[in-house]
């Protein structure tokens, strides 16, 4: 146990400060929280879409189960009623993100959060490609308000949030109103000059970039920043590395998925939305443009939560002789079904547990590879529908593929694989407990605390 204790101290010194930095650095936090806050809207859009195709498409799985297509011959005609829901969610995600990031930065710097958010949105459209005039009417391209504009939204949100918060604190730029002026009016005048300065800076910057790069600012950022990052994400190796890092953080008791959220969103947000749009246009997940996304992790390698601990729970009920393991197991089943596993991670604990570290890292990596292989060789369609990560086990794979039965079966295979891998380690934990109870000094030194 001497080695583990030394290892623990070393990692506490290295890893915890890095995680603390990542989780408190205001720009990273602003991006992460913006995606968290926008999540319910995009998820609502995705679920409406899923129901739309499950119920209203003649080959949708619910339609088939309930024989709806026999009862209503013109079922598919009603699909178009609900398709516009995406236009109000993922298709304008960049507008939400730019507002929320500018707002989050202002909150961190204690400036006027709402006006900062609105200024962010305003700036986003100052630098937006010009209206197209067709037969007397003006048209704005939808190309950059959705997924493709995400990086512009992130950069603008961060810059405007910083500029707004700093400029609005400068006494020299504040227009002072006499005390008789109502506070709501005084508030707007206080930030008038900062907003004018910001809009001028962005208008001039936009003109310069447009002069140098004829495709415009949005295309420029998309090509040099967003596309390379998206391409890095589009590989099974990246998926496995991200999952290993995320689960490794949990081993040290640090919330893994939260810590890597900002990076993960940058890599996969656009791909996920493009997939969703493909589904909306074609009514099927087959042929979705980005088969390799983080959704594979959720669909096949995250049952029970990080480390796929639903397999660990089953292994405990099958082979564990330890009362403490079985007690924690019983407590963890209900939250575990919804992929929440802090009780196992801290209760068993998995944290700094020399035996369980190996399967906790290994199981998700293997199941990501299994899921990816099945999608890569087109045994099942890509996980193109976004489904909440709290959806129980293999159902997530089933719904994520738009109701593919093979995906459901593969989900159960992955669960079996995780159980089989966890089993020998749970048996090893039995033996470790037996040895420890023979030797009181060992027991004391193995009581790892947080």
């Amino acid at each position: 146990m001497g080695f583990m204790a030394g290892f623990e101290r070393g990692m506490e010194k290295v890893l915890v400060p890095i995680a603390a930095k990542l989780n408190s650095q205001r720009h990273v936090v602003a991006i992460r929280d913006a995606f968290i806050l926008a999540f319910p809207i995009t998820m609502a859009g995705s679920l409406v879409l899923l129901l739309n195709f499950a119920i209203l498409a003649p080959d949708g799985f619910l339609a088939k189960i309930l024989f709806l297509h026999k009862l209503f011959p013109n079922l598919a005609d009603y699909q178009q009623v609900f398709t516009p829901v995406l236009n109000g969610s993922t298709n304008i995600l960049s507008m939400f993100i730019v507002f929320l990031i500018a707002r989050n930065i202002a909150i961190a710097l204690k400036a006027d959060e709402l006006l900062s958010g609105i200024t962010g949105l305003s700036t986003f459209f100052i630098i937006y490609p010009q209206y197209l005039n067709v037969e007397g009417a003006n048209y704005l391209s939808t190309q950059w308000v959705g997924a493709q504009g995400l990086f512009v939204a992130i950069i603008v949100g961060l810059l405007v949030g910083e500029l707004f918060s700093r400029l609005s604190k400068s006494e020299k730029l504040q227009v002072k109103m006499p005390p008789s002026v109502p506070p709501a009016v005084a508030r707007t005048f206080k930030v008038l000059f900062p907003i004018i300065i910001i809009t001028l800076i962005f208008a001039i910057g936009n003109a310069i970039i447009n002069a140098l790069y004829e495709d415009g600012l949005h295309q420029f950022i998309y090509t040099v920043l967003q596309t390379p990052l998206k391409n890095i994400g589009d590989s099974v190796i990246s998926l496995v590395i991200l999952a290993v890092v995320s689960n490794l953080l949990w081993i040290f008791g640090i919330h893994g998925p939260n810590t890597i959220a900002a990076i993960r969103e940058g890599m996969f947000a656009e791909a996920g939305i493009e997939n969703l749009n493909f589904v909306a246009a074609n009514g099927t997940a087959w042929g979705a443009p980005y088969p390799t996304t983080w959704a594979i992790n959720d669909a096949f390698a995250n049952y029970g939560g990080s480390g796929m601990t639903l397999g660990l729970l089953i292994a405990i009920f099958l082979v564990s002789k330890r009362k403490d393991y079985r007690d924690i197991g019983k407590l963890s089943i209900a939250p575990g079904l919804f992929n929440i596993n802090e009780p196992i991670i801290f209760g068993l604990p998995v944290v700094l547990n020399p035996i369980l570290i190996i399967p906790f890292i290994l199981v998700p990596a293997i199941n990501i590879i299994i899921g990816w292989t099945a999608i890569h060789f087109e045994w099942i369609p890509p996980i193109a529908y976004s489904v909440p990560w709290t959806t129980p086990g293999p159902i997530l794979a089933f719904l994520g593929t738009g109701g593919n039965w093979w995906a459901l079966i593969l989900g159960f295979v992955c669960l079996a694989v995780s159980t089989l891998i966890y089993m020998p380690f749970v048996m090893a934990a039995n033996k470790a407990a037996a040895i420890e109870s023979d030797n009181i000094t060992t027991t004391k030194s193995s009581e790892l605390n947080a």
Binding site: N23, S24, G253, L331, P335, E342, F346, G347, V351
Partner: protein, 101 residues
């Protein structure tokens, strides 16, 4: 009435603990307000609470919470095993100890 704030990641698992703590408080006939929030949403209520407890999975945020609280009330990371076993009574007892100090 005493108020306890639990800081966590997304409020999912900690809300389980909140329920267990409320049960423990009810049994003892204590009137107490307990709620769980992620750190990003804590700033609005942190000035009204009597003690702040952090989930062990966000223990690295203690410095940030400390700077928000500015020493006004006690701040502590919940002991890992008590959190994992969702031992509402133990955490509640500790919270009272901290408030009493």
């Amino acid at each position: 009435m005493k108020k306890i704030l639990l800081v966590c990641a997304a409020g999912m698992s900690t809300s389980l603990l909140v329920n267990k703590m409320k049960d423990a408080a009810n049994k003892r006939g204590e009137e107490i307000d307990i709620f769980a929030l992620p750190i990003s949403e804590s700033s609005s209520v942190i000035d009204e609470v009597d003690v702040v407890l952090l989930g062990p999975q966000v223990r690295f945020q203690k410095a940030q919470v400390d700077s928000m609280v500015k020493g006004r009330v006690p701040v502590e990371v919940i002991e890992m095993r008590a959190y994992g076993t969702m031992d509402g009574e133990k955490v509640l007892n500790r919270a009272f100890e901290l408030i009493g100090e």
